[in-house]
């Protein structure tokens, strides 16, 4: 057996990224469940993972399938009611129209996935396409469309009093 690292190290290295991906694709309410399902399935399959495999891409692939499962389960649970509230209307107590998580949640699923897998997980578009199906070009277009839509709907961070990492530029064409 080659030197495969203990699974604890896999969790330490990738837990935060996979949680960001799950939140982006599913929203915060279902993200914890998807994360847990993903890492449990990964632990189960870990001994059979080839030693030279890209662990991040492997985890994103599992998370993608678990996210689909979670969405289907939620759809099955959903019971029609007479008076369905619409999505929360724009406009929040703090005066900002929409936060970035809401803006991301409002994207079409393919765009959300492409943005999450490319920008949050750092997968190249060919790997994104391997996860979602379709071509690398289609994944690139979905991510670009997603970012363009985010720029339209997300007004950006509060300019005053919001702590930003030092040295970060705020340049953002809108």
């Amino acid at each position: 057996m080659t030197g495969k690292q203990p699974f604890e190290a896999v969790v330490a290295d990738h837990a935060a990224t996979v949680l960001r991906v799950c939140r982006a694709v599913l929203g915060p309410a279902d993200a914890d469940d998807a994360w847990s399902e993903t890492f449990l399935a990964a632990l189960r399959a870990y001994p059979d993972l080839p030693g030279d495999a890209n662990v991040e891409a492997w985890l994103v692939t599992i998370a993608h399938r678990k996210a689909i499962d979670v969405t289907r389960a939620a759809a099955r649970r959903a019971v029609p009611v007479a008076d369905v509230p619409e999505k929360p209307a724009a406009g929040r107590a703090d005066g900002r129209d929409l936060d970035l998580a809401d803006a991301l949640a409002a994207l079409p699923r393919r765009q959300r996935e492409a943005v999450a897998y490319h920008y949050l997980a750092g997968l190249p578009y060919a790997s994104v396409a391997a996860v979602t199906g379709g071509t690398a070009d289609a994944a690139r277009r979905a991510a670009a469309d997603g970012i363009a839509n985010l720029r339209k709907t997300y007004p950006g961070p509060e300019p005053v009093g919001s702590a930003r990492p030092e040295g970060e530029t705020h340049a953002r064409q809108r």
Binding site: G3, K4, Q5, A16, L19, A101, L120, I147
Partner: protein, 205 residues
């Protein structure tokens, strides 16, 4: 459509809610529990602070499989467990509750023998024979390397007994610290000579 500047997009996405250590810790705990329940946690481990330093305790479903001193390098020990037992390893303290409690009682002078299921799979051949004999040396007693060699039926193999003690996967629990040199010197120990002296003094009290 203009190509997105990657750095700029990453700056934009930094406005997503942050992932906190507390959130990750809660998810890790949940994984430790669910993997145990699902029977896919092959090796659970924790660390324990003791008078002889921080110990690593690791257990399979069968029992305690490894106790390691800090000097052995806990990361290397975990990598070795991944290679020799299974890479399905998580920090999951619950399986080690009894071992941690009994070791605490031992160092407090309140326990003279351990009552824990043990997994001897990391000791094979002659070493397994030696390691299996050692729990017969009682608390407060000692035996020489030569005496242990004779007791396991290979009187000339006292050096191999030394090697078996030096590679004991379950030090403290399997009391290789009670095997000393014929001239009374405690001799070497995988936890260091000071640790061996401390244990022998603890047991002599």
């Amino acid at each position: 459509m203009p190509a997105n500047d990657e750095a700029e997009v990453l700056g934009l996405l930094r406005d997503l809610p942050e992932v906190t250590p507390a959130q990750l810790s809660a998810l890790h705990d949940r994984l430790a529990e669910s993997s145990q329940a699902a029977g896919v946690l092959d090796v659970a481990y924790r660390t324990l602070d003791t008078p002889v330093g921080t110990l690593l305790l690791a257990a399979t479903e069968a029992g305690l499989v490894r106790v390691a001193y800090a000097a052995e390098g806990h990361d290397q020990v975990l990598e070795s467990l991944a290679a020799r037992v299974s890479p399905r390893i998580l920090k999951a303290p619950r399986r080690l509750d009894a071992a941690a409690r009994e070791l605490g009682e031992y160092f407090a002078g309140q326990r003279r023998r351990f009552d824990l299921p043990l997994d001897y799979r990391l000791a094979t051949g002659f070493r397994r024979k030696v390691v299996g004999y050692l729990p017969g040396i009682g608390y407060g007693d000692t035996a020489s390397y030569a005496a242990v060699a004779a007791a396991v039926g290979s009187p000339r193999a006292f050096r191999a007994v030394g090697t078996a003690c030096a590679t004991n996967p379950l030090p403290l629990i399997v009391p290789c610290h009670r095997v000393i040199r014929s001239d009374g010197d405690p001799g070497p120990y995988l936890g260091g000579r000071d640790a061996k002296r401390l244990l022998l003094e603890l047991e002599a009290a």
